[in-house]
């Protein structure tokens, strides 16, 4: 019973007795969605998450977020083709976030500060895992197995670890000191037994490895050059691109000094070699690709596999790129190349959607060069595991990397044949490690997929202000003579600027929009972070479900669902 006072006045805040939440037909919920950078990262890094930590000043936390997926950000920050940036929603607005610059900064910071990986020593009864190959795939697999408490035997045919990172990436892209520091930290982790100069099939057999271990990962890379000819003609002094590139990386020079060279191929090896040849003093370096320069907007299946950044730098350095061209025939004087006939060509889809390479008659032209180098890829060298290799590749189930025909054995990196970058190899190693542990535990491996990213259209972009991206300093083309690193790093201020530019796609920015714009005082702010990682809770006793919070959430983190 309420007594009616004179004039029927009411007491303050008594409306709380009236639960307007019963009016609701839809309720807002916090729905953490994957940012496109996260979904696109081959290594599985959540850039949005570590950019948030950078913005909050937690650099070490940011680095730990990276190394939860990728143990070598100082390397990938330099060499990765950063599909995260191609996917970044901010690209639709002004400029993408320079994510690789932030990653590199954090990687370098970790080396400088000697931050340790959060990995504990495994117990003496921990599972033992064998990893073959210490390229990025093998190292990532070993690292993640160690993180999960395993003991790891890592064998490497070469005297030092690193695989293609060491043998085929020019120093101007990846200084050896950075490579050594990152690798040394992994190889020093407790529980790892690194055996260099140990080759499968020569120093140890597959059966031995399998019998002594609870799981096996193969990351052999691709080192066996493919045979190449143009209309059955093969020049007498043919070297493959990879051979030449490895020679240059190892020795700082290559034997040949022609005036003009044509490199056939559009991958990173081709482009790296082209740039190396320019440094070597070759005046005319031509790159022949049946695809196009991978600029933004070029469909992936029509783009050279080399990264846009590398290709642009190559052009700056004087490399001539012939897009959509094929080699019809070589023009030889005896065994010596004097030129080649090129023809325009393109991949076209037929009625079934299958792509065919089509050469266009009447577009033939002669290119005079003294030398031709095929850089059309390599195959896996199957020595010691011949039974596992099919047509020069390890055929694997795409997500976990388990061999299709050999359950329990995993592979990744270049050996897979369907991709060829350091970041992809790191991702392969990480997923394979998880897969190996699941297999060990007798669990099934359901097919996986990267998370579905939140599209640009689901952000409320009005709340962001245009700001130019920070770019790392780049050595002018005229000064790129030798091994000096071409790209500098971002400084701390630029890194914070980039973190500040992050749209925080799909995650709570703690911007207060929902709290500020709720007409019903039904969003409560909590300093003690809410259990879902946001800074707010909905009070469903009063929330009427109007949807303003969801519509005005800048990051698409709030969603309305039927109540």
């Amino acid at each position: 019973m309420i007594e009616i006072p004179p004039g029927a006045y009411a007491r303050p805040g008594t409306s709380l007795d009236f639960k307007t939440g019963t009016w609701r037909v839809e309720r807002p919920v916090h729905d953490r969605r994957a940012a496109p950078c996260h979904a696109a990262c081959p290594a599985g890094e959540d850039a949005q998450a570590y950019l948030a930590k950078v913005e909050n000043g937690d650099l070490r936390g940011a680095w730990e977020t990276i190394v939860a997926a990728n143990p070598m950000p100082a390397i990938t920050g330099r060499v990765c083709h950063h599909p995260c940036e191609s996917a970044c929603n901010r690209g639709h607005y002004d400029e993408t976030i320079t994510i690789h610059g932030v990653e590199r900064f954090l990687g370098d910071e970790a080396l400088r500060e000697h931050w340790a990986y959060p990995v504990a020593a495994p117990g003496s009864d921990a599972p033992r895992m064998a990893v073959v190959g210490s390229g990025p795939a093998g190292l990532a697999a070993a690292y993640h197995l160690l993180r999960e408490g395993c003991r790891v035997t890592l064998i490497e045919a070469m005297p030092v670890a690193g695989g293609t990172m060491r043998t085929a990436i020019p120093h101007y892209r990846l200084p050896p000191s950075i490579l050594d520091q990152e690798l040394d930290r992994i190889l020093a982790l407790p529980g790892i037994d690194f055996r260099p100069a140990t080759r499968l099939g020569r120093d140890v057999s597959l059966e031995e490895l399998q019998s002594e271990h609870d799981g096996l990962f193969l990351g052999p890379g691709r080192r066996k050059g493919r045979e190449w000819s143009a209309d059955f003609a093969v020049p007498g002094d043919l070297h493959t691109g990879l051979q030449l590139l490895e020679t240059w990386v190892a020795e700082g020079t290559i034997p040949q000094q022609p005036k003009s060279v044509a490199i056939v191929g559009g991958g990173n090896t081709a482009v790296d070699l082209a740039r190396v040849l320019r440094r070597q003093g070759v005046e005319q370096v031509h790159l022949i690709s049946h695809q196009r320069i991978p600029a933004p907007g070029v469909p992936q299946d029509d783009a050279m596999r080399a990264t846009y950044r590398e290709v642009s730098q190559a052009i700056e350095e004087g490399v001539t790129i012939h897009e959509h061209r094929g080699v019809r025939r070589l023009i030889l004087r005896g065994e010596r190349v004097v030129g080649m006939e090129l023809v325009h060509m393109k991949k076209l889809a037929d009625a079934d959607g299958r792509l065919h390479r089509v050469a266009f008659e009447g577009t033939e032209a002669v290119l005079h060069v003294e030398h031709v180098i095929p850089a059309i890829g390599q195959d896996v060298d199957p020595l010691g595991f011949e039974a596992l290799v099919e047509r020069g590749q390890m055929r694997v189930e795409p997500w976990w990397g388990e061999l299709r025909k050999h359950s329990g054995i995993f592979s990744g990196g270049d050996a897979r044949g369907d991709h060829g970058t350091v970041s992809e190899a790191v991702g392969d190693g990480r997923r394979a490690a998880i897969g190996m542990l699941r297999r060990l535990a007798g669990k099934s491996l359901e097919p996986g997929a990267p998370p579905e990213p939140i599209p640009y259209g689901e952000l409320n972009i009005h709340y962001f202000e245009s700001a130019p991206a920070a770019h790392e300093p780049v050595l002018p083309a005229a000064q790129r003579l030798g091994n000096e690193e071409i790209e500098g790093g971002l400084d701390g201020r630029a890194v914070r600027h980039e973190a500040h530019r992050c749209l925080s796609c799909g995650d709570c920015l703690a911007c207060d929009n929902c709290w500020t714009l709720c007409p019903d005082q039904s969003v409560l702010k909590t300093r003690a972070v809410a259990i879902d990682g946001s800074n707010y809770v909905f009070d469903y006793d009063y929330c009427k479900g109007c949807g303003i919070c969801a519509h005005e959430c800048p990051t698409g983190y709030i969603r309305m669902i039927p109540d």
Binding site: G13, L517, D520, A528
Partner: protein
Amino acid sequence: MNEQPLQSLDALRAQQPRFRGLESGHRACQGCGEALAARLATEAAGPDVVIANATGCLEVFTTPWPQSAWRLPWIHSVFGNVAAVAAGMEAALKQQGRATQVLAFAGDGGTFDIGFQALSGMMERGHNVLFICFDNEAYMNTGVQRSGSTPHAAMTTTSPPGAVRMGKRHMKKDILSIIAAHHIPYAATASVAYPSDLRNKVRRAMDTEGASFLQIHSPCPLGWGHDGSLTIEVARLAVQTGLFPIIEMERGELIGTLPIRDPKPVSEYLKLQNRFRHLFADAYRARKELEHLQAIANRNIERFELRGVGIEKYDTEGADTVHRGGDRWA
């Protein structure tokens, strides 16, 4: 997906790092712009204030006895007298030597129409009162009838479009100019779409000695015919198109505007609202009225020099930029 709070919501509610003048449990419709505007205004104004509130939605949805959503001393008297009640409170507090500030709340009917005479008198006498008009451009409480604030061509229940009419025949009353002509120290417009600007103006008005006036554009989802989730979007477009200029006047002189970075076509604003639906018919008279409203927006932009010069920190795009941690709202 649905979070469980770490502490009781009652405790959390009590610890919110802002003053709560208007509590939950009020009975405004979903997405009510006026409720939001009143919440924001009282947050900035409280707690040492007294409020007089004209008849209207705000009064009805906040105080169905025995409940009240207000946490501030508040009185509703009748429809047309809010400025006078506020003036009386101000006179009393002044005579008593108390510093408590007086707010008057009214809708557009209680400001432009029935309450106008009392408002004019209050301002002429220079009472130290902040009069806030929650402008939702029609008589919403009685079921969406046209008022002096209803924009030209808008449909209401008493300005329906038909064979010989295209909604309201007359123009929206230029209330701010009339107010400014009283030579009061501060008069401004604001919008729920720009809450920081709104709260700053409330604070500024309260720091001003004498009568001050704030007209807050407050969309009404029911009366305007838009989804409740679009309240802010609609309010923002009103500003971005130039149909609702955000301006400040001191002693009758224009002293500040929220510049429009890139004016949007009025159709972007109008098409979200049922009250302008008839303007999108495939007919000459519809196109004509659409162009008429565009011309009104253009004239506003020209008259108040609303067109920004490039990118400015406090323009229609920059003024509500969010940041991680969000302290700009606090």
